[in-house]
């Protein structure tokens, strides 16, 4: 075992929300990209690649 190296084991956070009237059922998907980047800045990572469909958006992050 190395004394130190890159930590592979992930931390995983899942949050659910409720609201009266998410616009066109888009809800959190309306968040501007720079708001997502601002949130990820707190985490110390950033978006490197993205894809989405009718249901959700998926981002690959640095780290």
């Amino acid at each position: 075992m190395a004394v130190s190296g890159f930590e592979g084991f992930e931390k995983r956070l899942e949050l659910h929300f409720s609201g009266d009237d998410p616009v066109f059922n888009m809800g959190l998907r309306q968040l501007p990209f720079d708001s997502l980047e601002q949130i990820l800045h707190e985490v110390q990572c950033s978006v490197v690649s993205a894809v989405g469909n009718h249901y959700f958006d998926a981002y690959v992050l640095s780290e």
């Binding site: 190296g5 931390k11 899942e14 992050l61």
Partner: protein
């Protein structure tokens, strides 16, 4: 690392020395501006290989729980934190969950389950596929696509649209999207602390075992393909579900692993608000 954004759900999964929980305050702030209020929270992680390298608030599970308790609003009043042990010391499962309604009300919809697989001691030949060739001149996207094909990751769920990325000099991440379901793989291939994870969402209505107990089950096929990509020495599988069929799910997981030469070493179940039941199983390769 990955981020999934649904209309009323967000999932962030990060490795390394990221400070994941620091995302909660700004996330709650932005959601509130959209008229959305948090209704449940689930935080999970395995056992860090290098715990002393973790920054605040991830220096211990206790510290993480204190940070979560302080960051979440009071209306998420049903809370539970637990460490699920195993007889493989490197694989321990940490779970925190909170929700705003009685735990008898299920989140998410009761037919869904989430499978999180953590794999260590990866086969060296397989792990080598996740190193960039020096001076390959490729972008992270192009190199990622190459790794997806060479390693056979594109065969795990042939229906999924894959977004992949290769890091320099090594490491790999991919997200697969298939309708409203995601799957994700992350690889740290360095010898001595090699690690890979696979996570996906399924529904109990998707498929069932063949009557003859064969492997006609898409879920089992997908798990097997994912694990075969890495041929790990040690594996842990966490299945989270609000269904009443959790006992069947963990039996199917064990059934998927056995033919790969992975023997079940431990199995533990617990109940959590918002999450439902969490079953944590560990496996080791018979070759070890």
């Amino acid at each position: 690392s990955s981020l999934f954004v649904y209309p009323t759900k967000i999932i962030i999964k990060t490795c390394g020395t990221t400070q994941l929980l620091k995302s909660i305050p700004p996330l709650l702030h932005h959601a509130l501006n959209l008229g959305l209020t948090i209704s449940s929270c689930r935080y999970t992680r395995g056992n860090f290989i290098f715990p002393l390298s973790q920054p605040f608030p991830h220096t211990s599970f206790h510290e993480e729980v204190v940070y979560l308790e302080d960051s979440l609003p009071n209306h998420l009043c049903y809370r539970k934190a637990s460490v699920m042990p195993s007889n493989i010391t490197a694989h321990v499962w940490h779970v925190f969950s909170a929700c705003d309604q009685t735990p008898l009300v299920h989140f998410p919809p009761s037919d869904l389950y989430t499978v999180e697989i953590c794999m260590t001691e990866l086969d060296r030949t397989q792990a080598r596929k996740f190193f960039r060739r020096p001076g390959d001149g490729k972008t992270g996207d192009a190199a990622g696509k190459e790794m997806t094909e060479i390693a056979g990751i594109h065969k795990i769920n042939p229906n999924a649209l894959i977004c992949d990325f290769a890091f320099d000099p090594c490491g790999y991440s991919m997200n697969g999207i298939d309708g409203d379901r995601y799957s994700t793989i992350h690889v740290t291939p360095e010898d001595g602390y090699s690690y890979a994870s696979f996570e996906c969402v399924g529904s109990i209505y998707d498929d069932e075992d063949d009557e003859d107990g064969g492997d006609g089950d898409d879920f089992i096929r997908m798990l097997r393909r994912a694990v075969q990509v890495f041929r790990p020495g040690k594996v842990s599988v966490s299945v989270t579900t609000a269904t009443t069929a959790s006992h069947r799910l963990w039996a199917r997981v064990a059934g998927a692993m056995e033919p790969l030469g992975l023997k079940c070493r431990s199995c533990m179940a617990d109940e959590f608000p918002a999450a439902g039941s969490v079953v944590f199983q560990t496996f080791t390769a018979r070759r070890k």
